[in-house]
Symmetry: C2
Subunit: 288 residues, 2 copies
C-alpha cells in the first residue's frame, strides 16, 4: 500500500470511531468534514518519509503518528477559522466548519479531534517507551509552551514575539513530524527536530507568499488575509523575491541538516518537490 | 502530604509548564485562571480515593491521572461558557475565562488544557501498560463517541438522546475517575466503571437541583440556566423532591457497586459526604 493510501486509511479509521450509535451524528459529520477530503497531508507525508529514511520497522506506529499530527493540524484549522480568530468563511474551496455546522460544533469538533489524536497514539501496539516518546513529541507540538496553540495565542498579545510566533504556529508541527517519524522507527529522534523546524519555517514563508500572491481559486481560501489583518508576513518583511529566496534557503538547509540515515533519497525528493509545489503557479519561474 | 495538597501540587506543576519564557503570557495566565483557585476537585478526589481503596502503589500515577481529569474538566468549563454555548459571564463567583481574557484566549486555553492533560499522563514514569490504559481511559472520557465533548455536542442535535447526553456530559469523567484511580493502582479497573457512572449521574441530578433551587451566591454561577435554555433537567422531569430522592438512590447504588477492595471505607465516606455537600443548604432537611 502506498503512503497516501496508508495515511488516508489511518485517518479514516480514526474518524470512524465517532461514526457509531451513541455519538451525536452532527459532531461525527463535522469531524469527517474537517479531515476529508484530503488536503496536501504535508505533515503525515513528512512523518512517513522520515520513518522510511530511518528504516521503519513498525508501520502501525508511523501511521498512528502521522494520523495524530494531521488530526491536530485539522483541529487547529477548524479553531483558527472561528469568528473570534480569522472568521474564515471558506477553507479548501468550501465553507469552513463553523459556516457549515455552526460555531458550537466547530469548537467541539476541534476539541474532539485533539483528543482523537492522543487516542490514536495510545492505541499503537508498540514498545511502551516508543509510545511515551511519541505522545510527548506530539503533545509538545500542539500545547504549551511552544506548540501550535501557543503560536496562535501570540496573536492575542499586545507585543508579538515573531520568532516564537512562527516557530510555534507552523514550525512545531513540522518538527513533530520529523521527530515522530524517527521515533516511530525507533531511532534517536531529537536530531531530526532541526530538519522539521527548517521545513516548518519554509512552509510558513511559502504560506505568506501564497497569501500575498496566489489566486484565490488556486489555494481554496481567501487571499490577502495577513495584510488585511495586519499579521506579520515574510513578504512584507523581505519582499516577494526575498521571501522566495528565503524559502528555498530553508528547504536546502533542512536537507543539509538531515542526520545520517539508511535511505534519505526519497525524503530529499519530497522536500524538493514540496518546495516547488508551494510556490504559486504564476511565480513558478522564480522557483530555484 | 494529604490528598488535597497532592492534587493542588500536581495541577500547579502542570500549569507551570506554560509559565516559562517563550510561552504567550496571557495564554499561561488564562490557563491558570481556569484551573485556580480550586473548585471542589470532585473528580481528582474520587480518583485518589479509588486508588487508595485499591492499595495505591504508584502515587505519581494517581496524581497525574487526577490532574489530567481536572484539567479536562476545567477545559470543558471554559469552552462550555463560551458565547456560542452557555454565554456564561461568571464561573466560581468571578468572570468566566472569555469575559476575563476574551474569546480567542478562552478557546486556546481550553485547547491547551486538553493537550496538557495528555502531556501530564505521558510524563508518568510507570509501567507502560499502565500508561496506555490510563491514556485510553482518560481519552475515552473526553472525546468521541461517548466523552464530555460528545455530551456537549448532543445540545447541537435536533433530537437529543437524553440517556447518552447525561452519560457523556457528566458521567464519562466520573467513570474515568474511578477507572483511572483503579488503573493507576494497577488493579483490574473496568469493574470500577459502574461506580463512576452512578456517581456521575448523581452529580448531574444534583447539578439540576442546584440550578433550580440554589442561591446564586452559594454556587458562584448564574442559576436557572437549564430552564432558561430549555435544557433537560431531572427537576423538570421528577420534581424537586423526586430529584433529591433519585440522587441519593444513585449514590447508594454507587456504594453497592464497589468491587472488592483493600480499604473502601474512606471512599464510602467521600461519596456520602459529597451527597450531602451537593444539596443546596436551604434543602438540607430533605437530604437522606
Amino acid at each position: 500500500m502506498d503512503v497516501t493510501a496508508r495515511i488516508e486509511r489511518a485517518l479514516d479509521e480514526a474518524v470512524a470511531t465517532a461514526e457509531v450509535p451513541g455519538c451525536p451524528p452532527r459532531l461525527a459529520a463535522a469531524m469527517r468534514y474537517a479531515v476529508f477530503p484530503r488536503g496536501a497531508r504535508v505533515r503525515p507525508r513528512l512523518c512517513h518519509a522520515v520513518a522510511a529514511a530511518c528504516g521503519e520497522d513498525h508501520p502501525g506506529a508511523t501511521e498512528a503518528a502521522g494520523a495524530a499530527l494531521e488530526l491536530l493540524h485539522c483541529a487547529s484549522l477548524v479553531h483558527d477559522d472561528l469568528p473570534c480568530f480569522d472568521a474564515a468563511e471558506t477553507r479548501r474551496g468550501r465553507p469552513s466548519v463553523h459556516k457549515a455546522f455552526g460555531e458550537p460544533l466547530a469548537v467541539l469538533a476541534g476539541d474532539a479531534l485533539i483528543v482523537l489524536a492522543f487516542q490514536t497514539l495510545a492505541r499503537i501496539k508498540c514498545a511502551p517507551e516508543r509510545l511515551a516518546m511519541l505522545t510527548l513529541t506530539v503533545a509538545r507540538s500542539v500545547g504549551v509552551p511552544t506548540g501550535i496553540v501557543a503560536g496562535q495565542a501570540w496573536e492575542c498579545e499586545s507585543q508579538i514575539d515573531l520568532v516564537h510566533y512562527h516557530r510555534c504556529k507552523t514550525g512545531a508541527l513540522f518538527a513533530a513530524a520529523t521527530v515522530a517519524g524517527a521515533a516511530s522507527a525507533g531511532v534517536d529522534a531529537e536530531p531530526w527536530r532541526i530538519v522539521g523546524e527548517k521545513l516548518g519555517e519554509a512552509y510558513q514563508v511559502a504560506d505568506d507568499i501564497r497569501d500575498a500572491a496566489s489566486d484565490e481559486e488556486e489555494i481554496g481560501k481567501p487571499i490577502g488575509r495577513d495584510l488585511a489583518l495586519g499579521r506579520p508576513s515574510a513578504v512584507i518583511e523581505l519582499g516577494l523575491d526575498g521571501a522566495i529566496h528565503r524559502m528555498h534557503g530553508l528547504v536546502h538547509g533542512a536537507i543539509d541538516s538531515m542526520p545520517p540515515c539508511r535511505n534519505g533519497s526519497e525524503l530529499r525528493s519530497l522536500m524538493l518537490s514540496e518546495a516547488k509545489r508551494l510556490v504559486p503557479k504564476k511565480l513558478a519561474q522564480f522557483a530555484a
